[in-house]
């Protein structure tokens, strides 16, 4: 399974945490398509805590965290 964590506005109309069968997606981009999240809505994209891109491959056991553009201090 792949654990997808959604934050801030990406949660609107979606669950906070979504579990996906690892066979059904091979990259982060696939996950976005599957969850119907437009790429431009995501600005921080983490796989297991590290910044990655949409083409990054994902595998069983990965945690993918997605954030819209946000700032703070």
């Amino acid at each position: 399974m792949i654990e997808v964590r959604l934050f801030a506005t990406l949660r609107q109309g979606r669950e906070k945490i979504i579990m996906l069968e690892s066979e059904t997606v091979s990259t982060v981009g696939d996950i976005l398509r599957k969850l119907d999240i437009p790429t431009e809505e995501v600005s921080i994209l983490l796989v297991n805590g590290f910044h990655k891109k949409t083409e990054t491959p994902v595998q069983d056991g990965d945690i993918v965290a997605l954030f819209p553009p946000v700032g703070g201090g």
């Binding site: 805590g49 910044h51 553009p69 700032g71």
Partner: protein, 605 residues
Amino acid sequence: MANAYYEKIARINLTTGEIKVEKLDLDLARKFIGGRGLGTKMLYDEGVATVDPLSPENKLIYITGPMTGAAAPSTGRYMVVTKSPLTGMIACSNSGGIWGAKLKYAGWDAIIVEGQAPEWTYISIDDDKIELLDAREYLGMLSEATDVTLKEKHGSDASVLNIGPAGEKQVLMAAIMNDKDRAAGRSGVGAVMGSKKLKAIVVKCSRKTLDVIADEEALKEATKKALTVLRENPVTSSGLRQLGTAILVNIVNNVGSLPTKNWQESYYEQAEDISGETLAEKYLVKAGACHRCPIACARVIDVNGRVTGGPEYEPLWAYGANCGNNDLNIIDECNMLCNEYGLDAISVPCTIAAAMELYQRGAIKEEDCAGVPLEWGSTKALVEWTKRIGNPETELDWLMSSGSARLCEHYGMPEVSMSVKKQEMPAYDARGIQGIGITYATSNRGGCHVRGYMISPEVLGLPQQLDRTVPDDKAAWAKTFQDLTAVIDSMGHCLFTSFAMGAQEYTDLLNAATGTHYTAEEVLEIGDRIYNIERMFNKAAGMKPEDDRLPKRLLQEPIVNGPSKGMVSQLPLTLPQYYEARGWVDAFPTDETLKKLGLDECIGK
């Protein structure tokens, strides 16, 4: 010619009651802009670097920037510049709201407060008229009540700045509050105010705008551009308004850099409970904004039926993960207590976290705790100890209220204090995010994130994404961020505009308002100069090269859990690179660097 300054400074001697009006040195203002830069230069020239910070000899400078109150984005800022009783070095605490703008509209670029009043006093400013009034009846009053009472007396158009009980008692982590919930929070500036027996400053003004702009048309043009940039950037247009800075809880936790239980861990399983998302869902009433701010990051929340200012990211973390507490309602309450007592909502909870670790290690015993043991996650401890720090009575109360460095030193465990230059570090683990460690170690006011916010490029990807795990190029980045930040603080803008705006936008605004013709490079050089004058103040105050350091834990104890497990700070590698970029040797500018920056008066000092 108009130049965005009123060219007027009030010097108020509380010992003698004398009030003098002095002319602003315009050449100096051009060289240091205003606010943080000019204030530090003025304090340096006043020769107070070696005095006891809580003695009548220390001075308090309340200073605006040329942009403060101007018709440009997020210009409600003023700064308090003084020698810090917490760090023994330069303090410059920045606050929003509207007080600063009103001080400027009243016709003052700055006020310098010196001496010590014979009896508790407050200052009333009504345009040109400045009076010293009896404050004895307000003694012991909480901050919000002081605000309300003084407004009732002086009129609802007055804006009030004050200290709470913590400042009165010269607690080293006391803040100065204005407009109820805005704070010049850090470095114990409230204690200096208390040492002068100054309870409040009330400002009224008849002007509603800044009417001394050099080129109104150019400012309109520059503001239009800046507003467009802010509107087109998703962070400044909607991100901060929707979730405030609190959004960072989940992000920083997910990169394994949310210090937990006094930095013993760096990933907090319950982070969701104390996150910006949860705050918005459960307690948010609406977003709030400082004067002339389109970003509106402030939180207005409901705390047990009382509508008040809500916590920023920092107290959410410090009272939350860092104390092992996931009760958000308690964080809201403690944050409100910090505002009411007038306390730094970063240093206070971080000191409680350090005390909890001392308790865990057996250094503080249960019998020392007067019925409220310092157990991890104890909500009762968080509330009670905040009150005790805000109004100390027992020996341990006083020790705690002097900050974590002095507290841990007392128990023979200095390494438990997660501080730099005796000021507590904020909410980002410098082992998991390499560049922010340079900011912490070299910040002239001690542990602080807003002196060069490396979280922007290293975590948020603004203006571009840097790899948080490596030290490469971070020294140069940190220097540039520090210099630009010094400029923004000196102009009187809110730093958060810089999520979208760059050096060119600030330069255009500054030139339009003040009539200068600087390039962006020249403006950044002013930032460099400001950073160096702060450093020279610290040198005069007795700072040593070894004060540019990080706690041993960050250098020697790898992160134990979460995604950044195994990482340590590589500061020993980046610090020499940073000094080289600055033109410093052993933590201080060389004569050549001082000369290049036009700081000839500091050569040989």
